[in-house]
């Protein structure tokens, strides 16, 4: 089971690495959101007199710049959007007959699902990391707090990975279930934007109306975003921040567990003989 999952995952990743252009759309999204959206739509500049640096800090959870606030959110957005591209590869595998050759092989159907989850996760995490680097290098960009270390970095990307894993389960099961790229794109469009906008990713939910706040509070994107942002903005956490972080991570683990089970059964059904 593990050997087959790895064989299928490596095949997909080999194809991906040999086609560097495939990461470009994702990369452009990052750049547009950070460099264009983040810089042009900087709420700090919306008021003619400008915000004072304390006001910025207050509004954006202590972040010294809007992009520092925004980076975690943009990375969440990158995770969500690029799951769709990974899904397209899975639909193509079905359309070109590759999936059938895998299905006639004596391997557990779970290996097909988990390799889909793994390949999508690796692809989007790579983009997430690139986005983080872009945020660091652009002018007026991401400013990390003093003392931000490897453990913090692991915490940040661990939170993203949990969100990515949950999303990957959903989108892999979806991609294995549909028969055409068109229907995948339709469903993805229907899912992704509300998922993003009903979260903390782009703006603090404190500015939301109550009903939206309620939804945003249970949205796993908000949790991953909050956990990662706490570390990005503060570096070393106070004990109350640490408990928020721990709650977010636990919440995400729970979501991942549920989505893995649902995704697995949905994929199993989608892969059964027709």
């Amino acid at each position: 089971m593990i050997a087959e999952t790895m064989a299928l995952t490596f095949r997909a990743l080999k194809k991906w690495i040999r086609n560097p252009a495939a990461v470009l759309p994702g990369l452009f999204t990052s750049i547009f959101y950070l460099a264009l959206f983040g810089s042009s739509f900087n709420p700090a500049n919306l008021i003619p007199s400008g915000f004072s640096s304390t006001q910025i800090s207050q509004t954006f959870g202590g972040a010294p710049t809007y992009i520092t606030y925004l980076t975690a959110g943009v990375i969440c957005l990158i995770l969500v959007f690029n799951m769709a591209f990974g899904g397209i590869d899975l639909v193509l595998d079905r359309q070109l007959g590759f999936l059938n050759t895998v299905l006639t092989a004596p391997i557990p159907r779970a290996a097909i699902f988990f390799s889909g989850v793994a390949q999508n996760l690796v692809k989007v995490m790579f983009l997430a990391f690139l986005t983080f680097l872009i945020a660091l290098v652009i002018p007026n960009g991401l400013v990390l707090p003093a003392g931000f270390g490897v453990l913090n970095l692991i915490g940040v990307f661990g939170s993203f990975a949990l969100l990515g894993l949950g999303l990957s389960c959903v989108f892999t099961a979806l991609a294995l279930s549909v028969r055409s790229i068109d229907s995948l794109v339709a469903i993805v469009n229907f899912l992704t934007l509300p998922l993003i906008f009903m979260s903390d990713a782009l703006f603090p939910s404190s500015s939301f109306p109550d009903w939206l706040k309620t939804i945003a509070n249970v949205n796993p994107i908000t949790k991953a975003d909050e956990a990662a942002r706490l570390l990005i903005v503060n570096g070393n956490l106070t004990s109350s921040q640490l408990s928020t972080f721990a709650n977010d991570v636990l919440y995400l683990v729970g979501v991942v567990a549920i989505l893995t089970i649902i995704g697995y059964f949905a994929a199993e059904k989608a892969l059964s003989a027709q």
Binding site: L96, G97, T104
Partner: protein
């Protein structure tokens, strides 16, 4: 003889509407090459998909290598190799990488996977191209790679769906060669589909002709041709008063003789066997042979006889040409 594939009143109805396979029964013996012959849309691929666990069986039963396809799909998958009609090898991977992946998916790992892959690539004459991306392969090379990929775990039964579709005649003959050798040297049982009679004729021990989901006729190639009356040998002799009609009729296997002037048309199941006797007989009688030729029954003729329509009309069907174009695009891009 052990039956390695058994189909018992198999029916497949897609989504409650299209009846693709309609109550077919047949058996394939171990070590046999069994050919499923029929035009596009006849139900050949659907039959393979029911046997290789890809499609559910609407009604009836099927056994492959002693396992019930419906109840023990895992055991069936363990014993079969499948070479699909589509070219599924990955463009971005090399020939070697593709076949090693196929091995890995069949519990053959590590150096053993590489060893067998290299051996099979050699068998299909792809050892020089092994490191090249499949993107650069011709259509024939892709088909050969696909064949090797289906064999890397040494299956008991190999399903070949239109193994020569879209290939020119030389490349096609080469494929027949490989398949024939695998069958003879390794005792591999082959279940193959095709819509070329020459292919079925030169490769298969037995053939079933399927049309519109129904098996119309089955038997060895010789038997099928016999049902049609076999080959027609045309002999033109130099002017002579002797009537050879009765002489020809007396030769074993000859089923019918007609004479027009000095031209004799002799119907017989296989020209190769009777030809020396016929020629020798004529020469002994000191009669000069001016011209000799023979025609073999074509799938068209068999088909025309059985279904009342020509196979060539079917050949030009839209789905086929779309698929051919697709293959050509992949092969030439």
């Amino acid at each position: 003889m052990t039956k390695i594939i058994e189909a018992d009143h198999l029916t497949k109805i897609y989504k409650g509407k299209v009846k693709a396979v309609d109550d077919i029964s047949f058996a394939v013996d171990e070590g046999e090459i069994f050919g499923f012959l029929g035009p596009n849309g006849a139900g050949k691929t659907t039959t393979i998909k029911m046997l290789d666990t890809l499609a559910t069986i609407t009604s009836g039963k099927a056994f492959v290598a002693g396992h019930d396809v419906h109840r023990e799909p895992g055991a069936v998958r363990d014993s079969i190799g499948v070479v699909p009609q589509e070219l599924t090898a990955d463009d971005e991977l090399s020939g070697m990488e593709n076949i090693v992946l196929a091995a890995n998916l069949h519990h053959v790992q590590g150096s053993e996977a590489r060893r067998r892959s290299a051996e099979l690539l050699k068998l299909v004459d792809l050892e020089d191209a092994a490191g090249r991306k499949v993107r650069t392969f011709s259509g024939g090379m892709r088909r050969r790679l696909q064949l090797a990929m289906g064999l890397v775990h040494m299956p008991k039964v190999l399903f070949l769906d239109e193994p020569t579709l879209g290939l020119d005649i030389q490349t096609r003959k080469k494929m027949w060669d490989y398949i024939g050798r695998l069958n003879k040297e390794r005792g591999l049982t082959v279940f193959m589909t095709t819509h070329y009679l020459e292919e079925a004729d030169s490769l298969c021990n037995r053939i079933a002709i399927i049309d519109k989901g129904v098996i119309k006729l089955s038997g060895s190639p010789a038997e099928l041709k016999q049902k049609l009356g076999g080959d027609i040998l045309t002999l033109e002799l130099a002017e002579t008063p002797v009537d050879l009609t009765e002489f020809f009729k007396g030769i074993p296997d000859v089923s019918d003789v007609t004479r027009t002037g000095q031209v004799y048309r002799i119907k017989l199941p296989r020209t190769e066997k009777a030809l020396p006797i016929i020629v020798e007989g004529v020469v002994r009688k000191n009669i000069e042979i001016k011209e000799i030729s023979f025609t073999k029954p074509t799938l068209d003729q068999v088909f025309l006889e059985i279904t009342g329509k020509s196979m060539r009309d079917e050949d030009a069907s839209e789905s086929d040409s779309v698929f051919q174009n697709f293959i050509m695009e992949r092969a030439t891009s």
